[in-house]
Symmetry: D3
Subunit: 254 residues, 6 copies
């Protein structure tokens, strides 16, 4: 089974981190393919960047379809381009926010989210509503650490995030924590050991759930909403993204 | 006051239609500026097209900011790129689905939506939840008429949409109908006359509400979520969309 | 266009304040008509007073219909008599709580309410649910300043309300504030300048939205719930409020 | 124990019917006092009439307080003036819609409402939301029988209402029915026998629950929202409703 | 009328306490029958114990049916076995959490719960959702006093619970408190006197509401969900609980 | 990895069917252990049977803990004893209704449930609310086929269930179907092939998700709600279920 984990931003170090996180949990018989778009923002911390990043996600899903990928993970906590990717892919597609919320409610009644920047909390709340987990999530807390600083060992990020997680458990009286940024994936085990409750990394959750769906024979419904998009002209800069009549996918970018 | 109405698709005839619909209701002292992106799909009937169209919306908002626009309308019923546009614009930004839902609940307790294609109903439900109108909306019905066929006088679209609206009022026991596609804007008055209940066109609603917000001195909060996106590199095809350190907006496309 | 702004209480100074607030934002071509009932409580701070005030609102709407008014604003934050007024009026009717909630969600994802007395918070929560904004509102805070003291320049009301708004933004992590009393209308601009987020006054929001609905050709549906009330005897003190068979509205009070 | 059942309309025959319905279920030691206002509409079928009727309810609660009443029932399915009555009364106050919804969920998971006129369904939905029973109620159906025709033995009302209840159980797959009008109280047992599921009359439910609250020592909280309304001038027609400084209640009407 | 109050645990002192609490409020003509199972945990503080206790509740309801009981109260705040008991009983069955939530919303808009151990709060939240009171409940607070210590006069339990109730009213801005454990029933009046708001004990509420339902002629619907369970073999330890073809209930335990 | 799939009823053929369904999807390295209780009803079609079955589930989880099981599946669509099992198990525990709902929303926006008997629909709705999927589920439909008849090849069950699934997709406009009974597990692939949308069997979903949680290092939080139940006496028939002070689990039944 081949699972493509798409890092929606264009920072190689984050793609590598995400790939490692996914491979650790994938299990026997699952090949993880960690990729990033050829275009898009270096990190995603605003709605504007998320809109640009969605284009890159779609590029990598179209390429993945040509390469025979079985399932996809969209590895940014805003789940950019998720529904559009479902229209393109034959197999299942999971966002890491989506998967993390599902996993958290399987191991605890209520959880809190600890994320990077406070300005992303609105999107997190929107996704909680969208997926049905608004009541299960007690609060969304921000560390105010930019995404790309998370990996800097001199930033003290691990300590800050751990403290924020511990504080959330006490203040919100929750039994689990969801990490609200793919850049925190490497911290998961250490934070869980430190604070004694399940800590959910969306990359791990989405990768194992995607493999689970494939094993259970489940793929996105192609009946109506998620049927392939209709062929149609796309003038201008994004012309490479036009869906053509032939079934062969065009290469989306030069 | 200058309001820019952005048609997110690249079909000139629809931009013209939307502009006419907006100008009819704008009122004294309001200049309506109807524009379309230089790139993007010819119409928007899938999540994939919506993701591409969001890029075009952002292009036109950035150009609008350089031109001193006071408020924006995103004139596609999926409200593509709405939150991202709010980060870019100094004045308010409204989506036509958003505005139509608000307006409908001001003139009726419950409404139904009549839209173009059934595959877009999922997005409509998502937006109803997002804006708080899930309980106020009884149902979303589709005519299964493609967006660009709506303007074809030989398509019988007006008759089909009118019949669908009338059926919705009876079947759902609602007191108003929201038209779920900017391409239906020209039908509004005739359908309302025919079926005897308020029929809400999002282009008209969004244009007059945008002017109302400007008059009331209200603009999108810049405190946290909708603060301007941070400057950041964007490699590749979308490089023109990078936010630069200087306050002057770059021209997004060549 | 003629908009009647009804102050539901019987204090002339508040009617004047509300009229000024409405006229500032009404825009070209809109005549604002600020009125108050001939009977009812001097201010509205309880459910009991709200019930009495609803009668006065209906009196002024019936008189407004005879005078050819195009739209109405009910200018008390409990929106007293709103649904009943919709049955009487040909044009749209907006409550100031209703309009303020709509406006706040157009410029911010979440908001808090700062109101006069804590005992009115229950009604505010009820209206948030009624209009679909329960999730968008983080909290309702009270200053414990009686309504009629708000205008007393020696009361320190502006400072107290400003401090409460600032505290709400921080404590609730919201990006906008709704002022929960028509008596605070004159404070809006100064508080917004002081705390740096949109501050929504319902009188301004309702006045501009009412004009927007008229321009968009929208009026309350007369299909079922909001059809004119049936003619019927009303014995006793309220006899002047009986609906008569003739279409000419009776003068409701001597 | 003395329970005052207030018929909010001014039709004596309905007051008598409501009194009989309450007395049948009140149980030993409970005196039922069925009253009606001195002013107000002959029946309540619109928001406008409900607003007028609320004044009459408050009149009768003030008189009841002077007479030492232990608990009140507001016997119209729109629950007019309920929150205001709670501010005036020392003991508990229940609306018949409120009580019927509570009772229905104690004997079935889901129920439907069968009411008089379709135009009242909006208010029923609002109350279902207000009290927390929106999910428990499958649908609100109308018989389109005016309130005062319900008691006319030649109207066929019993047969129509029975048929509507039976249809609701099948169509909505519910296990109980709530009758949405005090005028249907006399039908309850016969409909339940005919269709084989619990049929809930709000007058019976509210009367027995009010007695239950008194026996359990529970009365409306006077802490904040439902504290007595503050003394305040009321000029004009409604002057008799002013709350005076002295604790003795004024006679509300001449 | 005969009401059986079932203590789901096997501690005699608690059964006696619950019986006394019920008898104080039952009113004239109501015989209270306080019982406990022949098997099950000594107290209920976990989901595991609740699952075991449900079996004991069903034993006592089957015996009650043989003895002609008119209505039942399940007197543990987790409402164990409630839906199953409804299938067995001819008359109504109420849980004490259920009844307490209903009662609290009849005397206040919002309430908080003060319970024994924090680990039971999850179940309380689940029941609040189940019955429709999630929005009406501000918070669930725990005293961390084990159930059986509540009755120990040297434990200081009354003082701790009173302090927790007072703190909840202030912190949550609620107008009533629900006691989250049958073991607190004896404290109700004293806490209410001390903190000045209604304090709701579920045993009292359920007993008086159960009598009210019987007086109103209401019993659990036997149409579908709560019809008697079908006869079926039960091998092994629980064999005494098999439903037999004959209408006579088997004695469930030796 | 060892996953114990617990059939909560005592019918061997169903345990075998469930075991086969789980093994087909488990994947490399996962050992599936299909078991059933020593006591409990032959099938589960009522709340009463579910309450009895919960005891059997707990028996098998306690035995599984002694045997070193890594994760559990509770294989009845009412998820009996699920929360209690979480308190006993070191690894994750999933119910098949729970898992099926999660899976369905990963491959479609909305789904319907097709179940065995209509009387079980109430429990399905309760679980949909409990897990956050009430809005995602359009409807619950019953075939009125008893659980044990599902496997009888002469019953026409496959044809009936297929027809019900097809009808649900059209009537409810949903893109996926959840099978509401473990006894339908063998039908999954054939129904999906016949109707062309994803059909979700909870046994498959729960088995692969349980393995996914183990791979991702996630287990039920032991912080508060799901901590091990406290040691406590259990007199009488269920005495074998008492939790003893020593860490070694007692054999629950003779």
């Amino acid at each position: 089974m081949r699972i493509r984990v798409v890092n929606p931003n264009t920072t190689r170090a984050m793609t590598d981190l995400i790939g490692r996180s996914a491979r650790v949990v994938a299990g026997p018989g699952v090949h993880v393919d960690a990729v990033q778009p050829t275009t898009g923002p270096a990190s995603i911390e605003s709605h504007y960047e998320e809109a640009l990043a969605a284009v890159g996600v779609l590029e990598q899903v179209r390429l993945g379809e040509a390469a025979g990928v079985d399932a996809y993970v969209v590895a940014c906590f805003g789940d950019p381009g998720l529904d559009a990717a479902r229209e393109l892919a034959h197999g299942p597609v999971l966002g890491i926010a989506e998967a993390a919320f599902h996993a958290a409610t399987m191991v605890a009644r209520r959880f809190s989210v600890v994320t990077s920047l406070g300005r992303t909390a609105g999107r997190a709340h929107e996704l909680l509503d969208r997926y049905g987990f608004a009541r299960a999530c007690a609060a969304v807390h921000a560390c105010e650490i930019p995404v790309l600083a998370l990996e800097d060992p001199t930033s003290g990020a691990l300590e800050h995030v751990t403290a924020a997680c511990r504080a959330a458990v006490e203040a919100d009286d929750v039994d689990a924590v969801v990490l609200g940024c793919a850049g925190m994936a490497a911290f998961t085990g250490r934070i869980s050991d430190a604070i004694g409750v399940p800590v959910v990394d969306g990359v791990a959750a989405a990768t194992t759930f995607a493999a689970a769906l494939v094993r259970a024979g489940l793929r996105t419904s192609a009946r109506s909403e998620y049927a392939p998009p209709p062929p149609k002209p796309v003038p201008g800069l994004l012309g490479g993204f036009a869906i053509r009549q032939t079934s062969a996918p065009a290469l989306p970018v030069a």
